[in-house]
């Protein structure tokens, strides 16, 4: 059995020696460099360009304005991060939107010329502030229902002994993968090859096909190792479309490298949310009503809903639940999915409210959650595919030492330091989508897996060999993996904590078929792995390949599927300065079977640290006049650094979820980020008596 063993990352050596080649590390002969000129107003129309001086810069090849690139919008495919296509019209929809593109022999020349392009703008009035426009919310159609209702919340509240109601907010945040995206587009005749930093090569192909008016089979999209994505590289964004379009017009390869500052506006962000949560409970803590209404900031002409209320539909047993997710249109770049979307911001509101309820009822926060433990989805009524959340509460509480907590505010100290202990439940909907993989065994016994999936740091290139090795019985070190290419078997995007389920199951299917074929060739079942080479030699085959695929089954729709967890944090505050720091954290997760405890642990730990960032550090502030995200760098937008990170302990509940995937696994990539914001806020309350309803915490 190789599944379940802590195999060392297959790509580790390449990454510690500098040999791994990311998108920006590829040299492309004859490539031109593209630099986007971005709007410095938040709304308006471009009325004129003056490129005379910019064209005088040595090395400048061409400067494109609106309508000159042969790109069309709006894009309908959901792989497009936004429907609007900059440079297809003259409208300015947000600060930082591309309004022109300079193409030059070198990046330095392109940058210099970009600074000389004079754009005349008829500025429009700019809507920036979410709180200011909260009276203008709208509900739009989206991939998930934007509202839900079971029972009668008003009646439930009427019967409640205790009611908690509050407004909770989360901030605008950015993905900020360490690798700024790079795209290189090259046409040969009518065929496009595009290398890009992406989490979804097939998605980029689909979106480009529409934007460029080219058949998808004339487009090949590739990626090497991706230097982090977190959702920003999950969809197709304007720089990818514009690079391809410019290369087509010019007949030469075009490369666009985003600057760090551009990564704040070029490919989405997690939008701020304002959440109104009301809970009603009986004296024993039994929930009688949950109302969760979430509003997220959205772009003017593009649709993205942060489903802040999603978790409240499922988390607790309650007869009366009503939820709604709405947006406010503002002049801002298009938001997008970010680790972890929806429940990431949304569970913050619910889980702080639960802490308030526990306090009002004088019930231990863990006990309150156990009293409302859902054994079936309270909104859909469906049974859960598998749920080991009780184990998570117990595992994490014991490891944390929760039983030693004294509930009174300010009652725990270490010397002069104020200490607060807080916890939260974690829940994230499980996304599942199909995938395919090809697996090849060669006469020398080596194995190759080919699938259009991606290595973004999650460990895909390590766990796929583990899964194949488990079926075939071969040493995983003898299994290589080819990823990130639309000429390979089609796989979904590497996001939504869905790759193990989808691609992992496809590899399992392919390996199972391969083994059966080998046994068929041998004419006997129970073939030993050592005999594979013999069989191929005997049949005079150099290699044998099989393609396997996996897709969710209709009957599995009868189950509600989620990742679950419980997270406990300790915060410390100096009694004078009172700036909270997380000093300890324990998380336990119910995510199905763990394929590789080493990479899974790193995913969960990383997720928790994202949660610490959400809780204490990360907020992107917007200039109210121009609509500019003012940070534009790691100096102004603080992501956690090493010193922000305490001792973190992660555990996984023993579990096999046969309904979620053939592997028994669900997803582990994002659940760690969830609940931490609330747990920290609750811990700060426990230490100080200051109720935190806005993250990041500012006291």
């Amino acid at each position: 059995m190789t599944i379940g063993t802590p195999l060392v990352r297959q790509d580790a050596v390449g990454k510690v020696t500098g040999a791994a080649r990311f998108g920006g590390d590829r040299m492309v002969d004859g490539a031109l460099e593209g630099v986007l000129v971005r709007s410095q107003v938040g709304a308006g129309e471009v009325v004129a360009f003056d490129v005379a001086r910019a064209l005088q810069v040595a090395g400048v090849v061409r400067i494109f304005g609106a309508g000159e690139l042969g790109v069309t919008g709006p894009l309908e495919h959901w792989a497009a991060g936004q429907a609007t296509v900059p440079l297809s019209d003259h409208r300015i929809r947000h600060h930082g939107q591309p309004v022109a593109m300079v193409i030059a022999d070198t990046r330095a020349a392109a940058i210099e010329a970009a600074g000389l392009v004079q754009v005349t703008v008829e500025p429009g009035s700019v809507r920036v502030s979410l709180p200011e426009f909260l009276d203008q919310t709208i509900e739009i159609k989206d991939w998930a229902p934007t509202h839900s209702a079971v029972g009668d919340v008003a009646a439930g509240l009427e019967g409640a002994v205790v009611t908690v109601t509050g407004r909770y907010t989360t901030a605008d945040r950015h993905h900020l993968a360490m690798e700024p995206s790079v795209v290189v587009a090259e046409w040969t005749g009518g065929d496009l090859e595009l290398w890009t930093s992406t989490q979804w090569v097939f998605g980029v192909r689909a979106a480009l096909a529409q934007a460029l008016g080219v058949a998808a089979d004339r487009i090949r999209v590739r990626t090497g190792p991706v230097g982090g994505g977190f959702g920003a590289k999950g969809s197709t964004w304007p720089h990818e479309i514009l690079a391809a379009a410019a290369a087509r017009v010019l007949g030469r390869p075009v490369r666009i490298r985003l600057s760090r500052a551009e990564t704040f506006v070029a490919h989405g962000h997690q939008p701020a949310t304002v959440q109104d949560v009301t809970l009603g409970a009986a004296a024993d803590g039994t929930l009688l009503a949950i109302r969760h209404q979430s509003v997220s900031a959205a772009a003017m002409d593009d649709d993205y809903v942060e489903h802040g209320s999603l978790g409240s539909r499922t988390m607790y047993r309650c007869p009366n639940i009503e939820t709604r997710d709405r947006i406010v249109r503002l002049h801002r770049p298009q938001p997008t999915f970010m680790r972890a979307p929806h429940e990431g911001p949304g569970m913050t509101g619910l889980e702080i409210a639960m802490d308030e309820l526990a306090e009002r009822l004088a019930i231990d926060p863990v006990e309150l959650r156990l009293r409302n433990y859902a054994d079936a989805d309270p909104t859909s009524g469906k049974p859960f595919s598998s749920k080991k959340l009780r184990d998570c509460y117990t595992l994490a509480a014991d490891a944390f030492g929760w039983s030693r907590r004294t509930p009174a505010v300010g009652s725990m100290r270490d010397g002069p330091s104020l200490i607060g202990w807080g916890m939260a439940s974690c829940l994230m909907s499980t996304f599942r989508f199909g995938g395919a993989a090809r697996i090849i065994i060669r006469r020398d016994g080596s194995v190759r897996i080919e699938t259009g999936s991606h290595e973004i740091g999650t460990g895909v290139s390590t766990i796929l060999p583990q899964i194949a090795a488990d079926v075939l019985g071969v040493d995983p070190a003898r299994i290589e993996v080819a990823l990130g290419d639309t000429t390979l078997a089609e796989a979904g995007g590497t996001f939504g904590s869905a790759t193990t389920i989808g691609v992992g199951s496809a590899v399992h299917a392919a390996a199972t078929k391969l083994r059966a074929s080998l046994e068929g060739l041998a004419g006997e079942p129970g073939l030993e792995p050592a005999e594979y080479s013999e069989v191929l030699k005997l049949r005079q085959l150099d290699q044998l390949a099989e393609v396997g695929s996996w897709a969710p089954k209709r009957e599995e729709g009868a189950f509600a599927m989620n990742a679950y967890g419980a997270v406990f944090v300790e915060v410390r505050l100096d009694p004078i300065v009172r700036l909270p720091r997380v000093s300890r954290c324990v998380g336990a997760y119910s995510v199905g079977r763990i394929i590789n405890p080493r990479t899974a642990r790193s995913q969960a730990v990383g997720g928790i640290i994202w949660g610490i960032g959400q809780a204490l550090l990360e907020e992107s502030r917007i200039d109210p006049v121009s609509g500019r995200f003012i940070a534009e760098g790691f100096g102004g937008y603080r992501v956690p650094c090493n010193a922000d990170v305490p001792d973190i302990e992660v555990m996984f509940a023993e579990e096999f979820d046969g309904h979620a995937s053939v592997l028994g696994a669900r997803g582990v990539g994002e659940i760690g980020t969830i609940g931490v914001g609330a747990a920290v806020a609750n811990a700060v309350y426990h230490a100080t008596g200051i109720r935190i309803r806005d993250v990041p915490v500012r006291i």
């Binding site: 004078i576 200039d623 003012i630």
Partner: protein, 351 residues
Amino acid sequence: MHPFEYRKVASAAEAIAQSADRRDAIYLAGGTEVVNWLKDGIVTPSLLIDLSACEFDRVSLDAETLSIGGLARMATVAADPAVQQIAPAITQAIEASASPAIRQMATIAGNLLQRTRCPYFLGARHSALGTRPSALGTRPASAERRVPSAEPCNRRVAGSGCGVVAGDQVGAAILGASPGCVATHPSDLAVVLAVLEAELVVQGEAGRRILGVEALYPVTADPAVENTLLRGELITAVRVPVGRAAGRARYLKIRRRASFDFALVAAAGYWLVEDGVVADVRLGFGGVAARPWRARTAEAHLIGRQPTAESVARAVAAELANAVFLPGNRYKADLLAAAATKLLLDPPGLP
């Protein structure tokens, strides 16, 4: 980056001579500031004078003075045994600055000559040195002085206004600001040096002069005057008086991120308690003004008082009597009082 010529010089005298020929030359030392300024178009010199081969980079000590060369690297100074013994707050301030790699490169003089990190001063960097839409451009950009930002900032473009006033105010100054500028100075070290009453040895065309470290900065924020050095002048040394202040002072920095972050507010200083009352005190603040802020009003208020948190709170309130707050930076008053209280009552330990 705007094109420039480049010359490496071997001495301060040579540097000054080179600079005399070229009015818009600037000096390059550690590079951790200047290289970013060049990239962001904050400076557009025609000549860069590289000081890295010059030798005014030593730390020396005599009975009265700890002398630190202007070109000494921050990491070298922080690790110097004489510095740690004579003026440990200098090590504290340096080790609270930036990151180890930056401290390895950055120089002491360069640290004092940092410019603000105000987001309006830095401008809209996503536009790759991009254009200003001309509808906003009351000041057309010229090739010589390109303005890579449409953001109003009087430090970047005289008369363009201050974006903070109607914009984001979280980082804005509360002391010594002017209607035209509410930037803060980012240096940690400068706050300590102000409290230690250090002097700067400054060399220029007119020869050598001595400048109190506080006198390096305008009293009131002046967007047109970054510092009081004359054109071509260099800080060749920082001289710290040996004595009680240097020995006792400590530095406390409050920042959002636990490391690698600028101060929300900072405090430097110490007090000496005799017969139950404050007999001697020095106090300085960072993160509140466009200069290191020596809190002389607070100091005067504390003398003769009991060494309590209440005394400190009242002293800081007295210092802030003339503070001007914006809605977004009011938090700094309480945080500053907390920083001063913590510094004086429970001073941070030495490294």
